[in-house]
């Protein structure tokens, strides 16, 4: 199982001596009677690619806008490099934002858009021209400097917006759904470009997204949000493999949940829809407490015959439906008490004739270490 570290061995959050670049403390924001952000605290470290992931309306964009200075928090503080940002207006914060709509100035050409931030600093003309040219080369738009935004494609506009927010070398770059307006194929490529850019420049990125695969791909750590609260903050693999609640397990990827009571040994869950289930790790819950066993669909095995009795959990099921996705197939099955279970099978052997068909009786099994026990 994945450790607390991330995919590139970068884990300042695990170091108790590390100082965060951005610290959010007890932040709340209410709009009338609606609480968009509810007493939220988090730390982001220098050089980190941090993702805020959640359903629409969960408050992630409001949090981003408070960091940028466009919304005033009702309570709490935002500290950057140890300095409280509350009295600092947006135009004096060493933070830049890339807007979801890109917000490119339609009356200025690409060069002037990118140069806008540097002009405000009153830099020398030559210096501005040099930095703008460098930045346009970095986002591969060297030959588009004289064009107006409406003469560019969606992907090019996105890169202009990125260049414009990066050219000032912000301490922190905020990205509000930066890829929402791109088509799927372009989005996939842009993710990797964004990661490369962030590493090359050594900047700190905070991205807001509702797309979990986007967050999983780009981020060192993901903060999963719901209704203005943080549900879990962890590296992508930990969010997926060790979610801390049924809500997170269900929001990030697919999951099968079996409700039951923890057995006396702490290593089994009794009375679930699939009978008594064995788990590998000892749960912190009390014996007899209501818990949920969570198993990801791709960890289930489907077999025609009952597996030989061993430590693995197994349950009889009927195939209800098969969704063919190309690289894998998603099976919808019904177990004996009538509840439904999902299982994903990689299509390794091509269109193998051996695959189970609809209405067939099969056995589902999984090893104890494939499941985790959730208490809420």
């Amino acid at each position: 199982m994945q450790s607390a570290g991330s995919k590139r061995g970068f884990a300042p959050w695990a170091d108790p001596g590390a100082w965060p670049l951005l610290r959010v403390e007890g932040l709340s924001k209410r709009f009338g009677g609606f609480t968009a952000v509810n007493h939220l605290s988090l730390d982001v470290y220098e050089g980190e690619f941090f993702a805020l992931l959640g359903p629409s309306g969960c408050g992630k964009t409001t949090l981003l806008r408070m960091i940028a200075g466009f919304e005033r928090p009702n309570t709490g503080r935002i500290m950057l490099d140890g300095v409280d940002l509350s009295p600092v207006p947006p135009y004096r914060r060493p933070v830049n934002m890339m807007f979801q709509s890109y917000a490119l100035f339609p009356h200025l050409n690409v060069e002037a858009n990118v140069a806008f931030g540097l002009r405000q600093e009153g830099l020398a003309k030559l210096e501005i021209a040099r930095r703008v040219a460098d930045m346009l080369a970095l986002v591969k738009l060297d030959s588009f400097g004289r064009r107006k935004p409406h003469e560019l494609s969606g992907g090019q506009r996105q890169r202009v917006a990125l260049a414009r927010s990066l050219v000032k070398r912000p301490r922190l770059l905020l990205l509000d759904e930066p890829m929402a307006a791109l088509d799927k194929k372009l989005r996939g490529e842009t993710r990797f470009e964004l990661m490369e850019l962030q590493r090359r420049l050594g900047l700190t990125f905070v991205i807001v997204t509702h797309d979990q695969s986007e967050a999983m791909t780009v981020a060192d750590r993901i903060a999963v949000m719901d209704q203005g609260r943080l549900m879990q903050v962890a590296p992508p693999a930990e969010i997926y493999e060790q979610p801390n609640s049924c809500w997170v397990a269900d929001f990030v990827g697919d999951v099968n949940l079996f409700e039951g009571r923890l057995g006396d040994d702490g290593l089994s869950v009794e009375g679930t829809a699939a009978g008594t289930l064995r788990v590998a790790a000892k749960s912190p819950a009390e014996p007899g407490q209501v818990v949920w066993v969570a198993v990801r669909p791709e960890k289930l095995r489907i077999a025609r015959e009952q597996p030989s009795a061993g430590l693995d959990n197994s349950v009889a099921a009927t195939v209800l439906d098969i969704g063919y996705l190309g690289d894998s197939s998603l099976y919808k099955l019904r177990i004996r008490d009538g509840s439904q279970v999902k299982a994903a099978v990689a299509n390794i052997g091509g269109r193998a004739a051996a695959a189970p068909a609809v209405d067939q009786q099969v056995w589902l099994s999984w090893p104890p270490e494939a499941a985790i026990v959730l208490t809420r």
Partner: protein, 267 residues
């Protein structure tokens, strides 16, 4: 293309004739060679020539143009500020009242506007003349400016201003670098309209004017009361031309500022 029936065509012809026939006749008679207004004496540009030596008319025209320049500029600044307040400050206390008060002069009879301004100027013992008319015309025209500029601001993407501030522009710099260039077509259209309104106003000007500030419409009106002189036809034709150009330019600019957005939405 829909087929145009004979009835529709006739209706359009009658409507346009009703609106423009008097003006066409005025323009034609301004080229009348005869001194008698009702008698056609052949084509001539004689009255345009005589106009150039008619000092009172030229003075009045000069005053009217100066007045229109001053009041259109003042009305454009004030009206744009009012439009920004209505479009940007959200639902502040008294917004509805403020909006209603801005728009009221649109439908207020000019006689009432003129009379109330006259009473005000008398009450504060202001010397009536050029500046009182300029203030009166500013009051009258600024509500038109507000309506035009506000319609442009409604479609304005507020994140453009946020982006400018995010990049380090102060609110004032943001206004001049981003907001103003983007609403400029509407502001220019509003200025043209305010200019035309001031140039052809008679009622408010006659209430609020004083000695030495006789505007062109007032001069024309007083001359015509003593009998229509052929020079008046010429001066009115020139005014129709100037106002017509201003109004057409204003509507083209307003259309441009709307059409630009539509063009940008297309890939």
């Amino acid at each position: 293309m829909r087929k145009v029936s004979a009835v529709n065509l006739a209706a359009i012809a009658v409507g346009i004739a009703f609106l423009y026939l008097p003006i066409v006749i005025l323009v034609i008679y301004s080229f009348n060679a005869s001194r008698l207004v009702a008698v056609w004496g052949g084509w001539s540009t004689r009255w345009y020539g005589e106009l150039m030596s008619d000092v009172p008319i030229l003075d009045a025209a000069f005053i009217s143009i100066r007045l229109a320049l001053v009041s259109a500029s003042a009305a454009t600044i004030l009206g744009t500020l009012a439009a920004l307040a209505l479009a940007r400050f959200g639902r502040f206390r008294g917004r509805l009242l403020f909006a209603a008060m801005i728009y009221a002069p649109l439908v207020m009879p000019e006689v009432i506007t003129g009379l109330s301004l006259l009473l005000l100027f008398v009450a504060v013992a202001a010397d009536r003349g050029f500046w009182t008319v300029a203030i009166a015309h500013t009051t009258m025209a600024m509500c038109f400016v507000t309506v035009i500029v506000q319609s442009r601001l409604v479609g304005f993407d507020i994140s453009l201003e946020e982006a400018a501030m995010d990049l380090g522009a102060t609110p004032l710099a943001t206004f001049f670098a981003v907001t103003l260039p983007l609403i400029l077509p509407a502001v220019a259209a509003a200025w043209m309209l305010a200019f035309a309104l001031s140039l052809d106003d008679l009622v408010i000007a006659s209430f609020t004017t004083g000695p030495g500030a006789t505007t062109l419409p007032i001069r024309i009106y007083s001359e015509v009361r003593l009998g229509v002189k052929p020079e008046m036809n010429a001066v009115c034709s020139i005014m129709v031309g100037v106002v017509g150009v201003a109004v057409i330019a204003a509507s083209l600019l307003a259309k441009l500022s709307g059409g630009e957005r539509a063009a940008r939405a297309q890939p």
